[in-house]
């Protein structure tokens, strides 16, 4: 019964307390929506979950084992989709995807890459250099990375922006199949994808204020 949880997480970015004493827990097959106004720290929390950012204190556990013990293992279990599309414009669509597929696992046959491209309906321009893609197509190429190799934890940061409606359906379908296979998803988005999920409002955890009297005691 895999579970991914965090206890009493506190994060400081650019000398600002983004959130303080935040707890969350996602079990197998569940999706967690990160709600909150802009700048409340949704992206920061996702980057923290992925391991790009270290919390000032608090712990992150995967199957209640601290993820910082074996970071290599944890990183091979997660797919992180950030704001930027991580697409090399000089490479073709297929080369981009194959590079990341081979980076994460030693798949040999091309089928999984082809299948992932089909799923996000990119297979028609697989030999096109990526610089000709529109923003939506680039986002779909980035999302196609999720389906090339199996990783139980998906961390998606605004996956649906610049996507047209049927691409959003493709995304929702991919998320629900991932849930059925026992995967865990954390999403920061404003669009309410019709996926069964519980949610976490980050703005409840940004209550830390420095009083003017703080550390005046010297």
């Amino acid at each position: 019964m895999t579970s991914f949880s965090g206890k009493k997480l506190t994060c400081i970015r650019g000398e600002r307390v983004v959130f303080n004493d935040l707890d969350f827990s996602i079990n197998e097959g569940e999706v967690l929506y990160l709600k909150g106004p802009n700048g409340s720290g949704k992206s920061t929390l996702l980057r923290l979950m992925a391991g790009l950012l270290r919390p000032v204190n608090g712990t992150l556990t995967w199957n209640n084992k601290n993820i910082y013990q074996d970071e290599g293992l944890f990183r091979s279990l997660t797919h992180y989709v950030g704001h930027q599309d991580a697409v090399k414009t000089a490479l073709t669509v297929e080369e981009n995807l194959r590079f990341w597929a081979e980076m994460n696992s030693d798949i040999k046959e091309k089928s999984t890459v082809q299948k992932a491209l089909q799923e996000f309906s990119l297979d028609s321009f697989s030999t096109l250099p990526a610089r000709f893609l529109s923003a939506g197509q680039r986002k779909r190429l980035n999302l196609a990375r999720l389906c090339t190799t199996w990783a139980p934890l998906w961390l998606l940061d605004e996956p649906s922006n610049s996507l047209d409606s049927d691409s959003v359906n493709v995304l929702t379908a991919a998320i629900s199949t991932h849930q059925k296979k026992g995967g865990i998803v954390a999403i920061a988005t404003h669009e309410n994808l019709d996926v069964h999920s519980n949610s976490l409002d980050i703005s409840m955890f940004t209550n830390f204020k420095i009083k003017s009297r703080d550390y005046d005691g010297w």
Binding site: R13, R47, A50, G51, L52, L53, R54, G72, L73, R75, S76, T78, Y80, G82, H83, Q84, D85, A86, V87, K88, T89, A90, L91, E95, F99, W100, E102, M103, N104, D106
Partner: protein, 226 residues
Amino acid sequence: MAGKSIQVFFKLIQREILLAIRHGSDSCMIVLFFVIVVVLFPLSVGPEPGILTRISAGIIWVSALLSVMLSMDRLFQSDYEDGNLDLLILASEPLELIVLAKTVAHWLTTGFPLIIISPVLALFLNMDTSGYSTLLIALTLGTPTLSLVGAIGAALILGARRSGVLLSLLVLPLFIPILIFGVSAVDASLTNLSSKPQLLILGGLFLAGLVLCPWASAAALRQAAE
């Protein structure tokens, strides 16, 4: 497990070289810069062969050093801007290996062409032929170390203002030992003394750089992505 890391290492080098070929002009620009800088010296110092031969080793080494440094700040910049850096950090392979792969790819696309063209420039400065072989050996040992140390600077300046100039201020003091031993190796062979000690020290610096620099660059990259 180790097999996969090596595989990923070569896959990353392959991708970097593919990118360099697709943007064909980058490495040509660096080599052109190298040639132009060397040509500046006879125009400024004067063409008399006497002076030129004496300072030929220094001219070639300083120009090579400036060319390598010039090409350094694009090493991680494009990955930082398009989001590839986050994925590279999150790849299951250790970041040090990835940084080493990128540095090797950078050396193949910039350092190596410099070495190939350096005899031609030595001809320009009519360095006598006894120095050619040592020049090639010294450059082969020196330019990878320049790339390795430069990679630390390239990682440190990600997201900084005016990163190109900043990189040169950070990295040039660290290049000085390589420059000193490189030039003295060639000068020793020009005055037909043995240049073995200098080349051994250059080799030592290279091996030390091979071990320590990726570790420092990886640390710099991790804090850049925070």
